[in-house]
């Protein structure tokens, strides 16, 4: 950041960590993070639109490189789903997994964009505060995890019936004895709460931490020539390491999505 006003490390980081928030009603809840929402939607539209565009022109003959790329992606996701979910996966579960993987991967990848250059550009078009990594926004990861959670409960009820689902809440995993109903229910309650929490916070934590480390490195870069050199080298190292994290977290998020939905299909 430039030194147009006194810049402290705290204000620098705070600046980069504040959302472009738009109130849509009364109270602290009725706020919209326009930046993460906008980025997420743009990325989703672009990536899935690209895939849909390739699919529209797909042939069963010799595929173009573009089509082969999309096919590799779809095949990869399909294979992962096939290894976990035993059932009619192609109707819904595999497409969900593909959506999650592609979308989360691209949202995570926003971390690679150099924050200060992007901030300058966004300032130029009028966005004073803009966070580029939607998955470093806990709302995004919670939205994804809770959506998966809703799907999980939906499939649980659809497969086992409402009665079956409630029966399982009280009679699994320890057994159907009336004395075990309460422990079973508490156990299931913890599971129901912990699943979306761990699902969302794992992704959020990783991306948020990655962002913070970048910010700290760029903060160091602001201290002078030596700092800039070190920050550049370490920033490169962190970015390369971050490629792994970005892909791995997207992969883990997808796998957990599949696992949760698959578990919903299994009755005890």
């Amino acid at each position: 950041m430039s030194a147009e006003h006194t810049l402290t490390p705290t204000s620098y980081i705070q600046h980069h960590l504040s959302f472009l928030a738009e109130p849509v009603g009364q109270g602290p809840f009725w706020v919209l993070h326009v930046d993460s929402l906008l980025t997420a939607v743009i990325l989703g539209v672009v990536s899935l639109g690209f895939i849909a565009w390739v699919v529209r022109g797909a042939t069963a003959g010799v595929p173009t490189r573009r089509q082969a790329f999309v096919e590799v992606l779809v095949d990869f996701v399909d294979e992962q789903v096939a290894g976990i979910f035993h059932g009619e996966r192609r109707k819904f579960v595999a497409p969900v997994a593909l959506t999650v993987f592609v979308w989360v991967l691209l949202m995570n990848a926003m971390d690679f964009l150099p924050v200060d250059i992007m901030a300058k550009g966004l300032q130029a078009v009028g966005f004073e505060e803009f966070r580029l990594v939607p998955t470093a926004d806990v709302n995004t990861t919670f939205a994804l995890a809770l959506s998966v959670w809703v799907l999980m409960i939906f499939f649980s009820i659809r497969v086992k019936g409402l009665g079956g689902w409630i029966h399982e809440l009280f009679c699994a995993p320890f057994g159907g004895h009336p004395a075990l109903w309460i422990p079973n229910f508490l156990f299931n309650l913890i599971e129901l709460v912990s699943k979306p929490l761990s699902h969302s916070l794992r992704l959020f934590g990783n991306m948020y931490a990655g962002e913070i480390i970048f910010l700290l490195l760029w903060l160091w870069a602001a201290t002078g020539l030596v700092g800039t050199a070190f920050a550049a080298v370490l920033g490169l190292g962190w970015a390369i390491f971050h490629i792994l994290i970005v892909v791995l977290q997207a992969y883990i998020f997808m796998m957990l999505t599949i696992v949760y939905i698959a578990m919903a299909h299994e009755s005890h």
Partner: protein, 156 residues
């Protein structure tokens, strides 16, 4: 970490993207991939079949060549025995012919010898008669002494 309405907005976006993928991305691409898979499988099967039929054809060719070789050998053997037979036959018939020719020649010679002998015999008789005529200086009636002359001729 402030949870707010963004959560719902993101969830709605997520739902929309899921719907989009389920509806427009997954089925057509998978249909294409599966179509190609069957195509490739068919192609591989066809190639396999081709290779197998080639193998079979080679085996058939091998047996045919073997058969042809055996047949050729048989034909050759047959031809050789036949040729031997023909030569033998020719030799035999030639020998017979030779014998026959020799026989006829011999018979002819014999005949000619006999004829010459007969002629000579006649001539000798005539000479004897003429000699006797001259010696006796008188004519001997050839007719009355015919059997005497004949006996003389037979003795010669």
């Amino acid at each position: 970490m402030n949870i707010n309405f963004s959560l719902f907005a993101q969830a709605i976006a997520f739902a929309a993207f899921i719907w989009f993928t389920v509806r427009f991305v997954w089925p057509p691409l998978l249909a294409v991939i599966e179509e190609r898979q069957t195509k490739i499988a068919d192609g591989l099967a066809a190639a396999d079949k081709g290779a197998r039929s080639l193998e079979e054809a080679q085996v058939r060719i091998q047996t045919m060549v073997e058969e042809a070789r055996v047949q050729a050998r048989q034909i050759l053997d047959q031809a050789q025995t036949r040729a031997g037979g023909i030569v033998e036959e020719a030799r035999e018939s030639a020998g017979q012919e030779r014998d026959r020719i020799i026989q006829t020649a011999r018979a002819e010679v014999d005949q000619q010898v006999n004829r010459a002998r007969d002629e000579l015999r006649g001539q000798v008789a005539a000479i004897a008669v003429a000699g006797a005529e001259k010696i006796l200086a008188r004519e001997i009636d050839a007719r009355t002494h015919q059997d005497l002359l004949d006996r003389l001729a037979a003795q010669i």
